[in-house]
């Protein structure tokens, strides 16, 4: 047992009384989007603008034997054609971007344009900029490209075999991890039962509605300026490195992002645009088609995961031995980190003393894989939660009871030995999600009804050895309105709005008096990436700090003006007013100097601050805790700042004649720490759940011998409004997160439990498990046939 840690758990009613935080206010960005006034990256045009297209590899593995662009260059209206030969030194950095000062991993640089060989279907080979899109398209047709196919690697196992063709770099093993905790052999020996299963998950496409787009130009100071939809404006550094120009000569102006989910975390159009704008000295626009968006950008990693679990008859897990194999695709990108996440969360939210995990990611000539909402967590969760139900089944135990015996609690340690410091409300979440399903729907002769749930834990905030930081500037204007400046990219989850609500809370103004300027690498303080469910945590804390300094000025001046001590001043509703400190009697003063309903307008206070030199603006930097990394032999160490815990439960009806699965009910319960905006948090849960249900039942990006088979939204199907019912979102607020006001992160975690919950529900309905996603009709039908003779154990739901 580890040292007992006092949980910071507070029941919600002990949280401070708040005025703006915790209210389901209309998000600051909502109306502009609803009336169609918000501009996205593809909506901008510039005078004299050129249009760009990219020539891409039509095969997955081959040699470039001829690449002649002379005819394309000669076409009237073509301004520029670039190939790898024109850019001998240009490298695309694919390592973790952002605020980290760490050196990039060796071997992580990819070519900007393929020169000698192509390594995946869709790899960029040449760039064209022309007066019109039609001319650019015509020019692509005039490029003489001859390729000679070469043997490729089309599954990760093959990539790791001796003698396999080398995809990229010196080793097809792109990354691997080892975790050793306790003594797994001893733990297995103590077990009454050992259960082993292997699980598979496929490639998945982000399929945000907005394809990648941008416009770039060189400004009057010679700065390459790129207006682009991205989750990472810090890619100005990646662009500078690729072009060999100083970092202060590249500016990224992020636009509102039409969905990211990790797919706009890596560089997309930025370097192509910068190269063409520099070469032509004209503005250049590049917008991917849907098919190009599918071919050109990353996917969620396919994984093969094996769990061997030793368990006592009581349900106590004594040992877990887990192996993971991931497909990294042609270039490394963020694979090493995704694999680390999957490895660190491989055993789930369970306290297991003896653990052995070995994970490896292998290069293939397939689409490259990188960040996707959950970052390795959803794959891990599908495996560990399917396995938990299989263990429960083997023990003839209720699945919730089995988990209850093993759930991690505050103070327990994860597989890497990291202690859980915040609330770990797994049991509460699972119980509530299950209860929300209500009465069970009865079976009909050809429709079997089943129920399943899944628990999970998922980090928020970046890996701690990245030394993550965020900055925000908060200022009050002389009329009492507030401005936030923060480099946060808003990818639709309400990133900007949360910061505004925090500033409104601290400064005591209504939300509509707060404006935000965001996402400009030159003009807004750098806030780091909108990834890793980190912006509320990181930039929220930066805004909290900055606003706190401004508040201190206002309170000090207001106290002087009101003739009271600062402790007796409160800021609310745009006014400063007198409150008595706790224990000193009456609450709010009944009169005030201005005579306006008990308060003094903040505009008056701000004006007096300004005339007496008190700062009305502040730039704050928030630093995440830093650690040094894991021990390479044992995998011991702290990885993340904190974790979110939750669960999702679903009820499904399985048609045993057709294999069709209908989700009848879905409920998800998450401890969000603190819901800064409950409507927005609920939106994250409903949306994340829907993506997770799509992952469960329909989504598979099909790749055959490296070639994409599903290059459109009519072949790669994502959920529509009629596929699934709404997921009921149940928000718990432990107040124990490391974010502002005790918030945890919910953006990524909301997706994680859906797929294993559905898999468990189908297994409950049929008595037979399906071990791979997606849970297609064919697989369900086969399971239904196999299940005809299975006697289901009695479950006590």
């Amino acid at each position: 047992m580890t040292d007992p840690v006092t949980p910071k758990t507070l029941p919600p009613h002990h949280l401070p009384p708040l005025k703006q935080i915790g209210k389901p206010l209309r998000r600051v960005d909502a109306l502009g989007k609803a009336v169609g006034a918000t501009q996205y990256a593809a909506d901008f045009t510039m005078p004299g603008m050129l249009h760009a297209k990219v020539l891409r590899s039509p095969i997955a593995s081959g040699k470039i034997v001829r690449l002649d662009v002379a005819r394309a260059r000669a076409l009237s209206g073509v301004a520029c054609v670039l190939t790898g030969a024109d850019l001998p030194d240009a490298k695309l950095g694919t390592d973790m971007p952002g605020q980290s000062g760490r050196a990039a991993r060796t071997g992580s640089d990819a070519p900007v344009l393929a020169t000698d060989v192509v390594r995946f279907h869709g790899e960029p080979i040449a760039l064209v900029a022309a007066e019109t899109l039609e001319i650019a398209e015509a020019a692509l047709q005039l490029i003489d490209l001859q390729l000679e196919p070469t043997p490729g690697v089309f599954c990760p196992e093959q990539g790791l075999m001796p003698g396999a063709p080398n995809v990229f770099g010196t080793d097809n093993a792109v990354a691997s991890y080892k975790i050793r905790k306790g003594d797994v052999e001893k733990g297995m020996a103590q077990a009454d039962l050992v259960i082993e299963n292997t699980f598979f998950v496929p490639f998945v496409e982000h399929a945000y509605l907005e394809p990648e787009a941008g416009v770039a130009w060189v400004d009057e100071q010679g700065t390459i300026t790129i207006r682009v939809c991205t989750q990472v404006i810090e890619h100005f550094r990646t662009v500078a490195k690729a072009l060999g120009v100083p970092q202060n000569k590249v500016r990224v102006m992020g636009t509102m992002v039409g969905g990211g989910f990790g797919g706009k975390e890596d560089v997309t159009v930025e370097i192509f645009l910068a190269l063409l704008a520099r070469a032509t000295r004209r503005p250049v626009k590049l917008v991917y088609t849907r098919e190009e968006s599918f071919l050109a950008t990353s996917k969620r990693h396919p994984f093969k995961i094996t769990h061997k679990t030793g368990v006592k008859r009581t349900g106590r897990i004594t040992a877990a031995e887990i192996t993971m194999l991931a497909d990294s695709g042609a270039y490394p990108y963020l694979t090493p980190y995704v694999l680390l996440y999957a490895t660190g969360m491989a055993a789930g939210p369970y306290k297991i003393d003896n653990v052995k995990i070995d994970s490896v990611a292998a290069a293939t000539n397939q689409p490259f894989t990188s960040a996707f909402r959950g970052f390795g967590g959803p794959q891990a969760a599908f495996a560990y939660e399917s396995q938990m139900d299989e263990v429960a089944k083997a023990l003839l135990m209720d699945p919730l009871e089995l988990r209850r015996v093993n759930y991690l609690k505050t103070g327990d340690t994860t597989v890497t030995g990291q202690a859980i410091r915040s609330a770990a409300w797994s049991e509460e979440c699972a119980t509530r999600a299950l209860a929300a399903l209500g009465e069970k729907t009865p079976d009909t002769p050809d429709r079997k009804v089943g129920r399943g749930f899944a628990s999970y834990f998922q980090s928020y905030g970046r890996i701690m050895w990245f030394h993550d930081t965020s900055r925000a500037w908060v200022g009050m204007e002389l009329d009492g309105t507030v401005i936030v400046r923060c480099g946060v990219p808003d990818i639709g989850a309400g990133q900007s709005n949360s910061l505004c609500q925090i500033a409104a809370e601290v400064l005591g103004v209504p939300l509509e008096r707060v404006s935000i300027y965001s996402t400009d690498s030159a003009l807004t303080p750098l806030a780091g990436t909108s990834t890793a469910t980190r912006q509320l945590y990181m930039s929220g804390n930066a805004v909290l700090q900055a606003a706190g300094v401004v508040r201190a000025s206002l309170v000090k001046k207001a106290a002087e003006m009101l003739g009271v001590s600062p402790e007796d001043v409160d800021l609310a509703d745009g006014e400063a007013s007198v409150v008595r400190s706790p224990g000193s009697g009456a609450a709010r003063a009944s009169s005030s100097p201005s005579g306006l309903g008990g308060g003094m307008p903040l505009a008056d206070v701000a004006a007096r601050c300004a005339s007496s030199g008190l700062p009305l603006a502040h730039l704050a930097q928030f630093n995440a805790p830093f650690t040094e990394g894991l021990d390479p032999e044992t995998g011991r160490g702290d990885i993340w700042p904190d974790f979110t815990f939750g669960a999702q439960a679903v009820e499904v009806a399985v048609d045993t004649e057709t294999g069709e699965v209908e989700i009848l009910k879905s409920a998800a319960c998450h401890d969000v720490g603190r819901a800064i905006n409950p409507a927005a948090a609920r939106g994250q849960i409903a949306g994340g759940s829907h993506q997770g249900l799509g992952y469960a039942l329909m989504e598979e990006y099909v790749v055959k011998d490296g070639m994409t088979q599903t290059p459109s939204l009519s072949e790669y199907l994502i959920p529509t409004a009629v596929d699934f019912p709404s997921t009921e979102a149940i928000l718990l607020e432990s107040g124990t997160g490391v974010g502002p006001f005790g918030a945890k992160g919910i953006g990524e975690p909301s997706l994680t439990p859906a797929a294993p919950a559905v898999a468990n529900a189908i297994a409950d309905a049929l008595g037979v498990r399906i071990f791979s996603l997606p849970l297609t009709r064919e697989k369900v039908l086969a399971a239904a046939d196999a299940g005809k003779n299975v006697v289901k154990p009695d479950r006590h739901w």
Binding site: P24, L25, R26, R27, D29, A30, L31, G32, K33, A34, V35, G36, A37, Q39, Y40, A42, D43, E137, A138, H206, Y208, L209, P211, M256, V257, G258, G259, G260, F261, V287, R290, I491, G492, A493, G494, E512, A667, P678, A679, A681, R682, G683, A686, H690, Q691, S712, L713, S714, I718, P719, T720, A721, V722, F724, S726, T727, E728, A729, L731, E733
Partner: protein, 190 residues
């Protein structure tokens, strides 16, 4: 582009009360024509009729503008989302989308608002199933559709109550932490 009709045609596009006299090649889609004319609230999500982001009202009917050739809309009345209202004077459906938390990244929103408009024009009091059916051609990757369905219902309820003023109040939205069921459509919320 082989076989495409590249001969220019002179047509009139009536968009949001504005009239554009333009000369366009025959293969130009209405989506491309509208965006080139500055109606960038009409979004391009696929150009293949798969996503609904390019939805416009063509003589009152919701269509995917990427599947319509511009000349086919010659003389027709076209309404895009911006034609319904502005931030200063939003259409009640737009207000309902903002109030109900139906807008996340917003890329699907212009198209969804128009599909909702076409539905409510034909059926002012739709059931949840009717709402879902009516918006099933509009993909949204962010919201899971729950708050979109609520927004359409909210717009319907507000308009049935005839409280045009009430719909402009703003700042009201569903409070997820107290909502009895995300799958239930409850209409007016405070």
């Amino acid at each position: 582009m082989g076989g495409a009709d590249v001969s220019e045609r002179k047509i009139t596009l009536r968009v949001n009360g504005r009239t554009h006299e333009v000369s366009l090649p025959g293969h130009r889609t209405l989506l491309e024509a509208l965006r080139d004319l500055g109606h960038t609230d009409v979004k391009n999500g696929c150009e293949k009729g798969d996503c609904g982001a390019c939805t416009v009202l063509l003589n009152g009917r919701a269509v995917n503008s990427c599947l319509v050739l511009a000349w086919q809309a010659d003389g027709a009345t076209i309404v895009t989302n911006s034609g319904l209202g502005t931030a200063d004077d939003p259409h009640p459906i737009q207000t309902a989308f903002a109030d109900a938390g139906a807008v996340q990244c917003g890329f699907c929103t212009p198209g969804l608002v128009l599909s909702a408009k076409a539905l409510l024009d034909a059926n002012p009091n739709p059931t949840e199933a009717e709402i879902r059916e009516a918006i099933s051609g509009n993909l949204c990757r962010c919201t899971g559709y729950s708050q979109i369905v609520e927004a359409v219902r909210l717009a319907a309820v507000r308009s049935l109550k005839g409280s045009g003023e009430a719909s402009h109040r703003g700042q009201s939205a569903t409070d997820g932490s107290h909502s009895p069921s995300g799958s239930r459509v409850t209409g007016e919320v405070q």
